[in-house]
């Protein structure tokens, strides 16, 4: 009898809990329903391709045959890529271009923001900001078009200037040694103004009392820069750096595809462009997927590593 009563009480309790749960779910139901199309998008266009990439990369995929009838090859394609004569070249180019992006390309907008921050006239500041931001709105096709015309050996502006100065005309876009610097300068031109705005936002967030205090302590401009300004935007700098590292292997291959040609593959060919040529143009789906997947994994590891290091030393992190 007693036991039964207890059991009944228990049931009542669970009923109540269940009801509460149901109520909760009903309350949040609209959120879940809203998220269905979003989830569908991410699953179909982001996560299925991810799984697909891995599966295809370990079989000898032929579109006619389908996944299940294709031969399993394990990590053959990965090994084939690592052993190929292009492997080192691709890694070197990808890393070199990124190194330039993470050094010159990274510092340029910070300097621009610091200089802009020193401008007292609001209107001039605004003007510079607006004008330097403009290139960010120009499509990469147009930017590359401009580069091609400016660097043209016959009519290009740069070569006209060189001729004036008594130097010979150079076909920049067919000379391997110029590619890295051209690409770096181009991306700085495109993005420095945009990125500078982010730093400016951080700069305006610095408490002006800190500067007053520094002045009272007798700190000059340089010292203020070093002890107040830079620490004030350091977390933004670290965050921006981490975000850039996240895309390390993913250099703008879609822009490079527009710029390069076989005569400068030796410096311009990066992993992304190689995947495009082999995987899409040659329809080597399995090989292309393997290289792409390899790239994604390395990229992910790099971000995780950078994030860890940053958490440890600067207390700023992406997650």
């Amino acid at each position: 009898m007693r036991n039964m009563k207890k059991a009944g009480k228990k049931m009542k309790l669970t009923n109540k809990a269940e009801k509460k749960k149901k109520l909760k779910i009903r309350r949040y139901m609209p959120y879940y329903i809203m998220f269905i199309p979003v989830l569908a998008y991410y699953v179909i266009f982001r996560y299925i391709p991810l799984i697909y990439a891995f599966i295809i990369s370990i079989i000898k995929y032929q579109p006619g045959k389908g996944i299940f009838n294709s031969k399993f090859v394990g990590f053959d394609y990965y090994l084939q890529f690592i052993k190929s004569k292009f492997f080192l070249r691709l890694i070197r180019n990808t890393l070199a271009i990124n190194f330039l992006q993470l050094t010159i390309g990274f510092v340029a907008p910070i300097i621009l923001a610091l200089l802009l921050n020193e401008i007292g006239r609001k209107r001039y500041k605004k003007l510079v900001q607006t004008v330097t931001y403009l290139p960010n709105f120009i499509s990469s096709v147009v930017v590359v078009s401009m580069i091609v015309t400016f660097l043209s050996p016959s009519t290009g502006l740069i070569n006209n200037i060189r001729e004036h100065l008594g130097m010979e005309r150079i076909n920049f876009l067919t000379e391997p040694r110029y590619f890295w610097i051209i690409y770096t300068l181009m991306t700085i031109w495109q993005t420095a103004g945009y990125t500078a705005i982010i730093y400016l936002a951080a700069l305006t967030g610095i408490n002006s009392e800190l500067y007053e205090a520094a002045k009272i302590d007798g700190a000059g401009r340089w010292k203020q820069l070093w002890y107040v300004t830079l620490p004030g935007i350091s977390s933004t700098i670290v965050l921006m750096f981490l975000m850039k590292v996240g895309r390390v292997l993913d250099v703008g291959y879609d822009t490079i595809i527009l710029m390069y040609n076989p005569s400068i593959y030796s410096t311009a060919d990066v992993i992304g462009t190689y995947v495009y040529r082999r995987g899409i143009l040659n329809s080597e789906y399995s090989f292309g997927s393997a290289v792409g997947f390899f790239q994604s994994i390395i990229g992910l590891l790099l971000v995780i590593l950078a994030n860890k290091l940053s958490k440890k030393y600067t207390e700023t992190s992406l997650w």
Binding site: M34, F35, L39, Y41, I44, L115, I280, S296, G299, V303
Partner: protein, 289 residues
């Protein structure tokens, strides 16, 4: 307060330097503009700077006489408008739940969005999925695969979060459904944010060429950026390009410049007006990134 000599020198340098930076940013654009309305002879001799020489509109006239170009232009407009609507709708549906008070399942939702940002599948499998879905060579291949950007979703979420929670609560008490709250209260109140993120999507879509190169074979579907690539960068091969540029001659060089201008003009025209939204967007995005 006394201004030191060093400070004055620095400011002089600073103003001049930033002026030069502006020149570098603007010069290419102005040059292309000038070149597009200049006579070919001056162009070939490299005499054109940012001031047109031998003013002529013949390049634009030639462009106008090619229906293909008009078609591509229309396509770009269509992709931009339709794409932005789809993108905004999906992004709002994602950002709204993420911006609310914590509830069971919210963490999962946010993981879905963020993980995609860190880890991408690469072009080959995406290409295969799009092909499998029979989207290859259809407008959907342009509109859907790149419809959402996780970065923009987070940005929109940040904008939504600035709206006081109480507003939504009282609306809910009045018996307003969540969908209505989103469309009648949140979206209108977060209008600056909605406009900003919408513009991010619109500009990206207007400027994009890669998906079109990957998925579109039908010449009647291609956007203007592809035509631009064909005639300016690859100096190429397609029927249109041959007609337009190699056709007869002389003004072909100006035609290239004119096409660049035509493809960029709409953005340049609205830029002064939309610019402030972008700045705002960047700030909100970077504050809570």
């Amino acid at each position: 307060m006394k201004v030191s000599k060093g400070r004055i020198i620095f400011q002089c340098f600073n103003y001049t330097f930033l002026f030069l930076v502006m020149v570098i940013c603007l010069y290419p654009v102005l040059y292309v503009l000038a070149a597009s309305v200049s006579n070919y002879e001056f162009l070939a001799k490299g005499k054109v700077g940012i001031i047109p020489m031998g003013f002529t509109l013949s390049a634009y006239k030639r462009i106008l006489s090619y229906p293909m170009l008009g078609r591509a232009y229309f396509n770009t407009f269509f992709y931009t408008i339709a794409g932005t609507i789809i993108s905004m709708l999906l992004s709002a549906l994602a950002a709204y739940p993420l911006s609310r008070q914590p509830f069971p399942g919210q963490k999962f939702m946010s993981k879905v969005v963020v993980v995609a940002m860190l880890f991408s599948a690469g072009i080959v499998p995406t290409f295969l999925v799009v092909t499998k879905l029979h989207m290859y060579n259809t407008i959907w291949s342009i509109l859907l695969p790149s419809a959402m950007s996780s970065f923009n979703v987070i940005l929109l979420k940040n904008f939504f979060q600035q709206i006081p929670y109480e507003l939504e609560e009282s609306a809910a008490l009045d018996g307003c459904s969540q969908m209505r709250i989103l469309f009648k209260i949140i979206l209108p109140l977060a209008m600056p944010g909605v406009v900003t993120v919408g513009l991010f999507y619109a500009v990206a879509q207007w400027n994009s060429y890669f998906p079109a190169m990957l998925y579109l074979r039908d010449r009647s579907l291609i956007p203007i950026q592809i035509i631009l690539r064909d005639i300016v960068i690859q100096s190429q091969t397609t029927d249109l390009a041959i007609d337009l540029v190699k056709g007869s001659d002389q003004i072909s060089e100006s035609v290239k410049y004119a096409t660049i201008i035509v493809a960029t003009l709409p953005i340049m025209l609205v830029y002064p007006f939309i610019q402030k939204y972008f700045v705002k967007g960047i700030m909100v995005g970077s504050v809570k990134g």
